[in-house]
Symmetry: C2
């Protein structure tokens, strides 16, 4: 059994804040918990905020292009770009919601590092082994609606590889690489809500064999050469 | 808080089996539980099995094309097609694993109807109001690893619409349509395992306002005209 526990009461996050301390004040963690932390509070803690007039589409476009290495599509003011991290998403993850008026939040420079920083701080303060996922809300091709996915992780596998294991009938499973980091991020979203002030979710009961060093950049970001849709 | 409860001990599923009865024998359901049911057992119960020699790539290709309305890409024996339901996925969802040797499982003809059938049977037998999601494992563009997504649903919203609500700072959220059906399916996968004989997961604690009539076909399948990547 897995439990998804929303963590409220963390308070407003400002540049320089230590998220691990804010989380530890708000919730009693256990060994092998996975923390899913919303990108927005990570970006705020890391000072990844820029002044931006929401009513100036050209200024917004400049900020988005500054975060991008490639534009894949553009329609009705929405840019689909590839970010410097290799994520393909709308508007390079630049976000005007849940930040102060007149400013926008950019994605963390290195979300895997952000996750490691939180994980290491929790370990140093408590001795607890945890996994940390930094999540953001992305669209998908072919399907309506957004889902939360992992943009960074530490201490927990991003992708588990079931290649070579056998199915219930003893037949070898051809290829089953499961992106548990995205499934954990999406699961966390279910108790988060967009406007309810729950920037962190604890996932308790995750398979212990999934806890290992990992990164979204290395395991999830698909190299363009292996990608059929660009 | 949400709990993800794996339901084992359902037993081998055969054509004509009533999945609702098998689930009710295996787990004590509660009002407003969401059941996530793996496509494979739905296809078996509905007799969506065809004879197929796994070592005959041409026969496999014919079966896949028979389930498809359009081929989007082909590489190294993997076809990305659009199914008759409008799903874009690998090999039209035709699956050789966890079925008897010499046969393959096709997707249900109408997975929303499959979900309604299970939901209605549970209601008729117990009086309990539940949501039912039929899930399958799909790849994604730009990201490695597969995740479980919803291919059918009943009694639970597929997409919830947060457009027009305000963020924690009172600013209106521009567009936030969240595909909770896919997030529920992915969450369930975390306690399912591919080879462990857990074809059903109960998700308990889901927001009651999300229970309503819905369908994946109507809410999740994106019309090609709104799709930037085909």
């Amino acid at each position: 059994m897995i439990s998804l526990l929303p963590v409220g009461g963390i308070g407003e996050v400002s540049p320089g804040d230590e998220l691990a301390d804010m989380v530890l004040r708000a919730v009693e963690l256990e060994d092998y918990d996975v923390l899913v932390v919303t990108q927005k509070v990570v970006s705020k803690a890391e000072g990844r905020l820029v002044p931006l007039d929401a009513d100036d589409p050209q200024a917004r476009r400049r900020v988005i292009l500054g975060e991008s290495v490639r534009v894949l599509r553009e329609r009705e003011g929405m840019l689909i770009t590839e970010t410097r991290h290799g994520f393909v998403c709308a508007n390079a993850g630049v976000d005007l919601s849940n930040v102060a008026a007149g400013s926008a939040a950019l994605l963390p420079v290195d979300p895997d590092r952000s996750a490691r920083h939180i994980r290491d701080a929790i370990l140093a303060r408590t001795g607890l082994h945890t996994g940390v996922i930094v999540s953001d809300t992305f669209g998908r091709t072919w399907r309506n609606g957004l889902t939360d996915v992992a943009i960074g992780c530490a201490g927990i596998a991003a992708v588990i590889d079931l290649r070579g294991t056998t199915d219930a009938g003893g037949r070898e499973l051809a290829v089953t690489q499961v992106c548990i980091a995205d499934e954990l991020a999406g699961a966390a979203e279910l108790v988060k809500g967009k406007a309810s002030g729950v920037p962190v979710v604890v996932v308790r009961g995750v398979d212990r064999s999934w806890f290992r060093e990992s990164s979204v950049r290395a395991e999830v970001v698909r190299h363009p050469s292996g990608d059929l849709f660009r």
